[in-house]
Symmetry: C2
Subunit: 415 residues, 2 copies
């Protein structure tokens, strides 16, 4: 493959994670060190930064500040939830992207996001190809939801899972200090896939977990739920429940929708907004059991708690960004960098880079396999523990200043 000289653009999209910047840093650092890549630009707020010619010059940043990206949560370049139209219907955006690519001689495009972002990569790549503009496009995955198809797991998941499991263990201890009864409902993110809620099972593996875990992979039955909680509460005086925000009844209606009479807003991808489920279920249980019930929503803390990130996740995220650039330089295009799991001679977890077709990844959601649930479908079995445990190993080496996180502060010098 002939070398391709030109600039690159790196963008971030979708909901942030604790380690999305570690991925971006892997790509930025590798691109800055490359001879073929003549300039490294960051697109502010994802693809909108390209459309609006809102680019920053990453070479103008202090290298030490850039390195802090490894420990800085949320999208340092800014994110967006902008969905590109189908180019057959309206190719305005694509023409504009091509115009910007030509203006800066952009030959490499790296997009760091979830399944919607892989879809964006895919469409841009096809359009460039159809228009005879050579540009290598690589997707760098991120999502706390862990729902990207193909890859063994997604950068961002493990840190959120580690935070959830740690917090569940701490909540477990807190819920047991009094000799009076207490039911606790913890609401965890995950619209259609229960990977994050499943992480509550890691706390259970350490003996400090939820009694019941409800994933959106299984239809939620309120009567069954109430009677199970009642039975555990009657037996132990305590009951801790972990529920996914996306649990739904057998007709597919989100339980969270019962929580508010207000109409649910929908975002630009048509997703219903969630929230208030823990408080709702706590109210139901209080009424039905008469017990003291507490509802806790982990809210966005679970996606930004970089102070509790998995070092394994940070390292793998960095590797995925680095591999995206290295592979593009070697001539690869139209791929997402993913992971394949293997074991070394000693049986220890090894994470290998594997490339996936963007078409495979885009717009599909990987669910928790039903075979990983217990028989009563209110908990996880060892298959999940074996899967998740290696991912959450290692403590972040986050830089602290005055006892608090020292996050990266980018200068963001406009091109």
């Amino acid at each position: 493959m002939a070398s391709l000289k030109g600039a690159c653009i790196i963008g971030q999209s979708g909901g942030p994670t604790s380690v999305i910047n570690a991925s971006a840093y892997g790509a930025i650092k590798t691109a800055l060190e490359s001879e073929d890549i003549t300039a490294v630009y960051g697109a502010l707020n994802g693809i909108k930064g390209v459309l609006n010619d809102n680019l920053i010059d990453m070479s103008k940043e202090d290298p030490e500040e850039l390195e802090l990206l490894k420990f800085t949560p949320s999208s340092a370049l800014g994110s967006c939830r902008y969905k590109l139209k189908d180019p057959d219907d309206d190719d305005t955006d694509y023409k504009r992207i091509l115009e910007i690519f030509q203006k800066y001689n952009v030959r490499y495009f790296f997009y760091n996001g979830g399944n919607d972002s892989m879809d964006t990569c895919n469409k841009i790549s096809k359009f460039m190809l159809q228009n005879g503009y050579e540009c290598r496009v690589m997707g760098i995955p991120k999502t706390i939801d862990n729902d990207l198809d193909g890859t063994d797991h997604c950068p961002g998941y493990a840190s959120a899972a580690k935070y959830i499991a740690t917090s569940m263990m701490e909540i477990y201890r807190d819920a047991r200090v009094y000799d009076t009864g207490m039911i606790t409902v913890v609401e965890i993110m995950g619209r259609n896939a229960g990977w994050l809620t499943a992480a509550a099972a890691l706390a259970g593996y350490k003996g400090n977990g939820a009694d019941l875990i409800y994933l959106p992979e299984v239809d939620f039955d309120m009567n069954s739920f109430i009677s199970k909680v009642q039975e555990i509460y009657d037996r132990n005086g305590k009951c801790i429940v972990a529920v996914s925000e996306g649990i739904h009844d057998k007709d597919g209606k989100y339980i969270a929708e019962y929580a508010t009479t207000a109409a649910q807003a929908k975002d630009s991808f048509g997703h219903a907004q969630m929230g208030g489920l823990a408080a709702y279920l706590a109210g139901v249980l209080q009424q039905q059991t008469g017990a003291k019930v507490r509802g806790i929503e982990l809210s966005l803390l679970q996606r930004c708690a970089a102070h509790c990130a998995s070092q394994t996740d940070i390292d793998e995220s960095f590797s995925s960004g680095k591999a995206a650039v290295e592979n593009a330089l070697a001539g690869v295009t139209d791929k997402m960098v993913g992971f394949e799991r293997s074991v070394d001679k000693n049986g220890n977890y090894v994470c290998n880079i594997k490339l996936f077709d963007l078409t495979v990844v885009a717009n599909t959601e990987k669910k928790v396999p039903l075979s990983w649930l217990n028989k009563t479908q209110d908990g996880l079995n060892d298959l999940y523990i074996d899967y998740a445990l290696p991912l959450i190993q290692g403590e972040t080496k986050m830089v602290k200043e005055d006892g608090l996180p020292r996050f990266a502060n980018l200068k963001k010098v406009r091109v």
Copy 2:
């Protein structure tokens, strides 16, 4: 002072903290090493454990497991919210306590709790004195609320403050990833004193903080609040607000009370139950500003997040428990172990143990000085930062196993 030989009882009371067990460990370890103390008992669920003759033998615990108490959140011995009656009205409980003390020759009583617990210590001590039973009684403070009078600060506060400041910094980053507008309301614990909410100012000191901070020390005016948020939102497109759960209007009515039409339950100390304030204020702001608004309740995570504890707090908590036993052995009684702040030759923070009369501490609440607030009373000034910053220094050396906390598991062998 003649040495006093006999057993000791250690109990924990009130809401737990991340480091209450570090205090207990300081007391237990020192007592176990003492020659005068013939037996070290833990009272299960505080004073209820004494009343119910529900004691455990701390010498039967594995020393390595006991040491893990330094990093184990929530009350390992169990807690209670049992309020002793005034002995002049009903001395039944006190007679029972004396009976138990006599049964086990208990000559030392260490109670680890907040202001209600100091009140309990005080009453027990007086009763024993009146009945001619020699027993040295020491209070070991704990409260995330930091509202105990006399002492410079309370064990437990700094770890909660560190968690709140860290989480606020992370939320700040998360709230800024999109180029669309966003208002975020974060609800923080603290019924009558704003110390915990003030910790949001530490995030601001690091440039990642709340725009507005509302403490219960100042009457809350809804119209002023809405217009301030609107003004900041119009200017920046973002606004982050930290509110204490205990904010109230000029008539003293809690804003949280407006949040639910349901009657507010009261605990045995007559405190109104709180919650739902963030969601309520988010709703008000959404309606008034039309912006996207998110309400986040830090909930009990802020009092149990041992994974983000301040090592300074852990060390000081341990010291306070140790000092309680050492002072009692030296003949001191009827005191609470507190802290006095000084500086060393280099101007660095030093924390010295100071003893306070239980009568001074019991049933008073120390508020945030109004002189530490900014002129508009919606933020803190440097006096607070100078006060709080030394307390949150140092990262916990929490023991991890499988990438998750390894908490203490006590055998709890009954006496």
